[in-house]
Structure formats: structure tokens, C-alpha cells
Amino acid sequence: MAVDEKRKPKTIELVIVYGVNKELEVSESETILEVKKEALALFEIDESELGNFVLRAKVQGDKDEQLDEARTVESYKLHNKQKVTLAAGTPFGEGR
């Protein structure tokens, strides 16, 4: 029997690294910005601090890189149980 199904975005579980690891279920269609908001909530960090943080992950090889917030989980090919770091976005001081 043929079943007419609309393709639902697949969900995966990312491991958010921020001192301790916490798992976060996300849809592959979510943007990195949306994931970051959920990650902050996971660690009870107020959303007003959104601009102070970025997400980083090992996308190619062994080196982790900052993820572009406009892109989606799917576009980075983030996979189930992949570690994603919640890191300070602007660690350097200004004026130097």
C-alpha cells in the first residue's frame, strides 16, 4: 500500500558542551541560531546573553570552528550525538 507522507524534518540529538554535556534534540531544519537559543535555555543562561555566545563544532577534520547562525543543522551535516560547544562569542577586549 502506498503511503503518501510529507517528508518531516529528521530530528537528531546533539551533545551541547558547556562544562558538562547535555543532550539537545533538534530538527535538521533548525538554524544554528535557534539551536543556540535552545542550548542557552538548557544551561539556564538568560536569552539576553545570546550575543555573548557562539556554537562551535568539528565540521571538517579535527578542528572545531564557529558555526554560522544563518545556516541549518542539515547544511552542516551535524549528526546524532555530535558534540557542539557553547563558547564565548567575543572573548577579546575592544580597542586593541
Binding site: 558542551v17 558538562v20 546573553e49 555573548n52
Partner: protein
Amino acid sequence: MAEAASIVPTPEEQSKSLVRDEYVKLVAQSDFFGWQLRLCDAGDYYVVFVRIEKADRAFVLKLECDDYPQVAPYSTFIDPALFETADDATVPDAAFYPTGQYIVGDRGPLPVMCIKGHRDYYAGGWHGGWTNPPAHDHCLYQHIVNVRNALLETWS
């Protein structure tokens, strides 16, 4: 029946407990971030040593956490060869600092990292932002993550 005497931790014990909490987070992420750690008990406070390697060079960060989190940790670099034996008396050395943007050479005898989360960053009103308790992006754990990322991507 006599009441059990309540033991009130000293400010130093409270400070060391908070540093231990941060250290536990660092240990938990050792494999992921690829650093080596040592926690040295200096009596009233802890000193944390972090060894971070990049392709051509190793760095050892020394963090003196006296009065943390009332005061930000004093964060310097030492000779990486001393990592296994270093203690609170180990002297930082300008020869083992990274170089590059945001390493400032005119603020004292040692270079200073212009990066959040350590004492010299806030000294003399250079930058604001240190609070007790520290904000998430200024805490000890995050400072070490920030330095690690800068060593791998920005400094040489």
C-alpha cells in the same frame, strides 16, 4: 541531646570549593578539548595548570585562583617543560607567552592577554565585566576555553 556543631567553611574553603567545581568541568572536557590539567593546592587557594598543544608548540597556562570568584584568576604562561612539577612558586616567563593580536606588551613586565576572565584583563579599569559570581562568559572554565581557542586559531 547536644546539637551537632555546624561547621562554617572559611572564605578560603568556599573559594577553593568553587574552583574545584570549575576544575571538574575542565576535567570532564579534557578529551574533547585535548588539554592536560593539574590542580595544585597552595594552601589557601588552588593553582590550575593547563597544557595546550598545537602543531609546532606547547603552552602551559598557570591560573592562580586566590580569592576566586571575588577576584579573577591571575593567568600567566610558564615553561611547558615544567608542567609536571610546577607549583604556586613557579615563575611565569615572557619567553613562553604566545604572540599575535590581543597579546599586549606594554602593560608590565609580562605580556598580557587581552581576553576575558583573568585578573590583568580588568586591572586598572582596562576592561569591565568581572562580577561575583562571574558571568557565564567570564568564568574560569570559559576563560580556559577562550585561551585554548585563541592559541589554536589566533596566537602563535
